[in-house]
């Protein structure tokens, strides 16, 4: 079975300021294993030749559909935003290593920490952990009220807390401040968001908690062959991991940010 497939665009709509929800349908949805994996999407315009990696936000196996949420940020995503339902997109994936759930006991509490466009991959994870019977706490951070998305959706599967930097919705401040304010205990954390957020999380929790973080990097091949997207691994001698292959999800202590 080929890992590239021309998938059907079911839906492609703006759900918050510059944030789009794209639903795609295809056979290879069946191959998606874990939350936190990604797909590498080929754009139509031939001038931009590289595929664009997007994390998988939600998988619907019975409909053979999956969802990604993206922010319009440059020429590639601008082109993507113009696509209408009925169009076809060549999708390569699923790729990469996602969030592991197996290490989690049934009575353990999971804390999901998402920042901005890092929120989407945590959604499939929230659904899965909720289904397993785990208590899930989601702490999501956004710039402001206009940039917020998926609040109701996360609310269905987790105890939800939202922070905005300007205080226009929920707690005023960043996700780490909100977590400090909440004083909730948890057993394991899963995080995806800006590098500064992930660094703070690593500093605050890597000594005391188990956890996983999902990284972002410019990629070319998406399968570990080109070594374009490496990150540093903890420990001596200096060694590197490929974000697209061993990642994008790494355990909290595994990489130095």
């Amino acid at each position: 079975m080929k890992l590239t497939e021309d998938m059907l665009v079911i839906k492609n709509e703006e759900i918050a300021r510059d944030i789009y929800e794209l639903v795609l349908k295809g056979q290879n949805v069946q191959l998606m294993k874990e939350a936190g994996q990604f797909v590498n999407i080929q754009l139509e315009r031939k001038g931009l030749i590289l595929r664009r990696p997007f994390s998988i936000c939600e998988i619907n196996y019975s409909e053979k559909e999956f969802k990604i949420i993206y922010r319009v940020l440059g020429e590639g995503t601008e082109e993507l935003a113009r696509l209408k339902a009925g169009a076809r997109l060549n999708v390569f994936g699923p790729l990469g290593t996602g969030f592991p759930e197996s290490g989690l006991a049934k009575d353990e509490v999971a804390l999901l920490i998402g920042g901005g466009i890092g929120v989407p991959p945590l959604y499939e994870l929230a659904r899965r952990l909720h289904k397993r019977g785990n208590k899930v706490i989601s702490v999501l951070g956004f710039q402001d009220k206009e940039g917020i998305f998926y609040v109701e959706e996360f609310g269905q599967y987790s105890e939800l807390h939202v922070a905005t930097m300007d205080g226009s919705y929920g707690y005023k401040g960043n996700v780490l401040e909100l977590i400090g304010h909440l004083q909730q205990d948890f057993d394991i954390l899963y995080a995806c968001g800006p590098m500064a957020m992930l660094k703070s999380i690593q500093e605050a929790y890597s000594q005391q908690k188990r956890g996983y973080i999902s990284l972002e990097e410019r990629m070319a091949c998406g399968i570990g062959a080109c070594y374009g997207c490496v990150c540093d691994k903890e420990g001596e001698p200096p060694y590197q991991k490929r974000v697209c292959k061993e990642g994008p999800v790494f355990s909290l202590n595994e990489v130095s940010l």
Binding site: T4, E217, R218, A225, C226, Y227, Q240
Partner: protein, 304 residues
């Protein structure tokens, strides 16, 4: 009409002329998860250095119209690990393995050339004297005809397999370098490596690549490759493995016309991971459609 895709070059018996280019295919492991590597003519494995290298800081990739810039920095596990782990794994395939070597000094090139050519899995060496992304060695050896010739002669002396020299396009006169390495004993040429380039981010005002400059590859460089191969083919007797922006069978035919005997496919593997088997599938019909019964007949056709 049946078309003969076989290509015979010094040290290399290729069942077809399609070879994934060095640096774009790792050591084959990732692509072996996608398709049967036995379909390929050969493989040019990722550059080997004496010691393991971790490469340049990220971002290492920047996109541009019709191409990409990369500044990976020859990341690889080092020659010892390649001989211990990668080559035995590659031995399971019916695949001509070409080992790309990159040194900081002539002595390092000699050591790499000797150790890798003595390995039975390796059928030929590709001398990387054109990597634009490392401080020492690399490009410095590929832009001066005298140094390139000396290096070629020294590696030839210690190597037990044919030596192909990978030429840089970042020179004023590619023919001079090509002639110099031919005279020094090179068994073949592979060309071209990437073109030195740069992109600047408009928001930060800084270069997109952490390394500053990077090597441009992809369809954008194809006409440069075709021109250089065309020029060199007229002036040398040794065979050329051509590369630079190949994405489809038609591109391969154009390279053959210019004078390449086989081709490397690089960046296209990142766009369509199945591009090599696709080209191999399309090639017989395309050749037949142009009246050829073999790959060999099309080589240098533009010069006839």
């Amino acid at each position: 009409m049946s078309v003969d895709l076989q290509v015979t070059l010094p040290g290399l018996e290729l069942k077809n002329p399609i070879i994934p280019a060095s640096g774009c295919f790792g050591f084959g492991e990732e692509f072996a998860e996608l398709y049967d590597l036995n379909q390929l003519g050969g493989i040019m494995i990722k550059a080997a250095t004496v010691k393991a290298r971790i490469g340049n800081p990220t971002p290492r990739i920047a996109e541009t119209y019709g191409g990409i810039l990369n500044a990976i920095g020859l990341q690889n596990p080092g020659v010892e690990a390649i001989i211990r782990d990668k080559l035995p794994w590659l031995a399971q395939f019916d695949l001509a393995v070409i080992a790309n070597i990159a040194g900081d000094t002539m002595e390092e090139y000699e050591e790499l050339g000797r150790r890798l050519s003595d390995n039975e899995v390796v059928k030929a060496l590709e001398l990387n004297i054109s990597c634009p992304n490392v401080e020492k060695g690399g490009l410095a050896f590929g832009t001066d005809p005298d140094i390139a010739a000396e290096l070629t002669a020294r590696v030839k002396k210690v190597a037990s397999k044919p030596v192909y020299v990978k030429l840089s396009p970042n020179v004023t006169d590619i023919v001079r370098i090509a002639r110099a390495v031919e005279e020094a004993g090179a068994d073949g040429l592979s060309m071209i490596n990437t073109l030195l380039g740069m992109r600047i981010d408009l928001k930060s005002g800084k270069t997109i690549l952490a390394n500053g400059t990077g090597g441009l590859s992809g369809p954008a460089i194809k006409p440069v490759a075709i021109r250089m191969i065309y020029q060199v083919y007229k002036e040398v007797q040794i065979p050329i493995i051509g590369m630079g922006g190949i994405q489809q069978a038609r591109d391969v035919l154009e390279f053959l016309y210019a004078g390449a005997s086989a081709v490397g496919v690089g960046t296209a593997n990142f766009i369509d991971p199945y591009v090599c088997p696709r080209i191999i599938r399309e090639l017989p019909e395309l050749l037949a459609g142009h009246g050829f019964t073999s790959v060999q007949e099309a080589v240098g056709y533009a010069h006839k």
